[in-house]
C-alpha cells in the first residue's frame, strides 16, 4: 500500500513506523522539519516539509497514486480540510481525518468523510472502565 500521513506527531510518526515495518510505502508530510526526528534514525520512508492544504505539496507526496491518506496534525480543521481535498479532489480511496471535537467529527462523517475521534473513543473506554469497577458494599 502507498500511504500518505500528514502530521508527524505522536500518532502520525508511530503510524508511519508501523506501516513501514509492515512493508508499506509511506510518505510523511509536516510543516515542521524537526518533527521528523520522532520517526527515529534510518526511517526508510519519504519526508516532505510543507503545508498539507497545498495541492502542490500533496502532489509531490504522490497523492495521485495513493491508496490511503491519514491526517493527524494537531489541528482538527486542517485535518478535515486536507482529508476532504484527498477524498474529493484526488479520489484517494481511503482518506481519514483525526478530529478531536466529537460534534465536527460527526458532521463530516455524515458527509462521508472517514473520521476518527479520539475524544469519543476515550469516553467510551473510560465509561467501560468505570462500569467495570467493582461496586463497594454500600454502592447501588
Amino acid at each position: 500500500m502507498y500511504v500518505i500521513i500528514v502530521g508527524c506527531g505522536r500518532v502520525g510518526s508511530s503510524m508511519a513506523r508501523q506501516l513501514v515495518s509492515e512493508g508499506h510505502d509511506v510518505v510523511v508530510v509536516d510543516e515542521d522539519p524537526s518533527s521528523f526526528r520522532l520517526l527515529g534514525d534510518g526511517f526508510p520512508g519519504q519526508c516532505i516539509v510543507g503545508a498539507a492544504l497545498d495541492w502542490d505539496v500533496l502532489r509531490e507526496a504522490g497523492i495521485e497514486g495513493a491508496d490511503a491518506f491519514a491526517a493527524a496534525t494537531d489541528g482538527d480543521n486542517t485535518n478535515i480540510v486536507c482529508a476532504l481535498i484527498a477524498w474529493r479532489r484526488f479520489e484517494v480511496p481511503c482518506a481519514i481525518a483525526r478530529v478531536y471535537d466529537p460534534l465536527r467529527a460527526r458532521v463530516f462523517a455524515r458527509l462521508g468523510l472517514q473520521t476518527v475521534c479520539p475524544t469519543d473513543q476515550a469516553r467510551v473506554m473510560m465509561m467501560d472502565a468505570v462500569h467495570a469497577c467493582p461496586k463497594s458494599a454500600t454502592g447501588e
Binding site: 492544504l53 497545498d54 495541492w55 502542490d56 489541528g75 482538527d76 480543521n77 486542517t78 478535515i80 480540510v81 486536507c82 476532504l84 481535498i85 474529493r88 479532489r89 471535537d101 460534534l103 465536527r104 458532521v107 463530516f108 458527509l111
Partner: protein, 236 residues
C-alpha cells in the same frame, strides 16, 4: 438582516462597523482574548468570545436564524470549515469567506464555497490593471451569479477596432460595459467608437474568456494570455 461574523480582525471589525451603519443586526465571534478585550467596549453584547469553528459557539451566536455568515479569520482551514458547517449543517442561505492565501482558492472552489474574497489576489489584479503589459485582467468573479468582470485591451488588429460599440460582433454571453481611455472611463454606449489601445470592461459568463480574447486580441494565443493573467494559484 442578521449576520454572523467569525473573526474580529481588521476585516471582521470593519464589516461589523459597516453593518452597523447599514442598520443590520450582527454578532462577531473572536477567539483571541486580547482582541476580544480590546473590542468589547465598542461592540458590547455583539461580540462573543470563543472558537467560531466550534458548533456550540456558532449556535450560541445564533447561526440557526442568521441570513449570512462571514468567515474572515486568518486561517483558511478555519474559514473553509466554518463555510461548510454553515451551509451543510445549518442551511445558512449565504456564506462569504476570506481566502488568506491565494493558493488555497482552489480548495474553497472544490468545496463549493460560493463567495470568496482574496485580498492578495485582488491586489495582484489591481497591479496588473496598472501595468500596460497586461492586456487581460480578470477583475471580479461572482461565482454564484455565474458572472465575471474582466478588462481587456483592444489591439490594432482586432476586428472591433474603429467600430462603434453597437456594430461590433461579440461572442455570445459577453457585454461591453465601459471603455477605459487615457485614464478615464466612458460608458460603452452604442455610438462610442473603440480605438486600438483602449481597455474595455466586459461582463461575461465564466468559460467565455477565450472567445473574448480571440475577439479583441486576435494575434495572441488565448492560453498564453490567460496564463499571464493567472495568479500563482493551484487552480486547475
Amino acid at each position: 438582516m442578521f449576520v454572523v461574523i467569525v473573526g474580529a480582525g481588521k476585516v471582521g471589525l470593519n464589516v461589523a462597523r459597516s453593518l452597523t451603519h447599514m442598520g443590520h443586526e450582527f454578532i462577531v465571534i473572536e477567539q483571541r482574548r486580547s482582541r476580544y478585550d480590546l473590542l468589547q467596549a465598542e461592540l458590547e453584547e455583539r461580540l462573543l468570545f470563543g472558537d467560531g469553528t466550534e458548533m456550540w459557539v456558532l449556535e450560541e451566536a445564533g447561526i440557526v436564524r442568521c441570513d449570512l455568515v462571514v468567515a474572515v479569520t486568518g486561517d483558511d482551514e478555519d474559514n473553509v470549515v466554518i463555510a461548510q458547517l454553515a451551509k451543510l449543517e445549518y442551511s445558512v442561505p449565504k456564506v462569504v469567506a476570506r481566502v488568506n492565501n491565494p493558493r488555497n482558492q482552489a480548495t474553497f472552489d472544490l468545496l463549493d464555497v460560493d463567495a470568496t474574497v482574496c485580498a492578495a489576489a485582488m491586489m495582484i489584479s489591481m497591479i496588473q490593471h496598472e501595468l500596460p503589459s497586461h492586456q487581460f485582467v480578470p477583475l471580479l468573479s461572482l461565482k454564484r451569479e455565474n458572472m465575471e468582470l474582466v478588462e481587456i485591451e483592444v489591439s490594432a488588429d482586432s476586428p472591433s477596432a474603429h467600430l462603434a460599440v453597437e456594430d461590433i460582433r461579440l461572442p455570445d454571453g459577453v457585454l461591453v460595459t465601459a471603455i477605459l481611455r487615457q485614464g478615464t472611463a466612458l460608458l460603452a454606449r452604442g455610438s462610442e467608437v473603440l480605438l486600438p489601445g483602449d481597455q474595455v470592461l466586459c461582463l461575461l459568463a465564466p468559460g467565455r474568456e477565450k472567445d473574448l480574447i480571440r475577439s479583441f486580441l486576435p494575434s495572441r494565443r488565448p492560453e498564453d494570455v490567460q496564463a499571464q493573467a493567472s495568479i500563482d494559484t493551484i487552480g486547475e
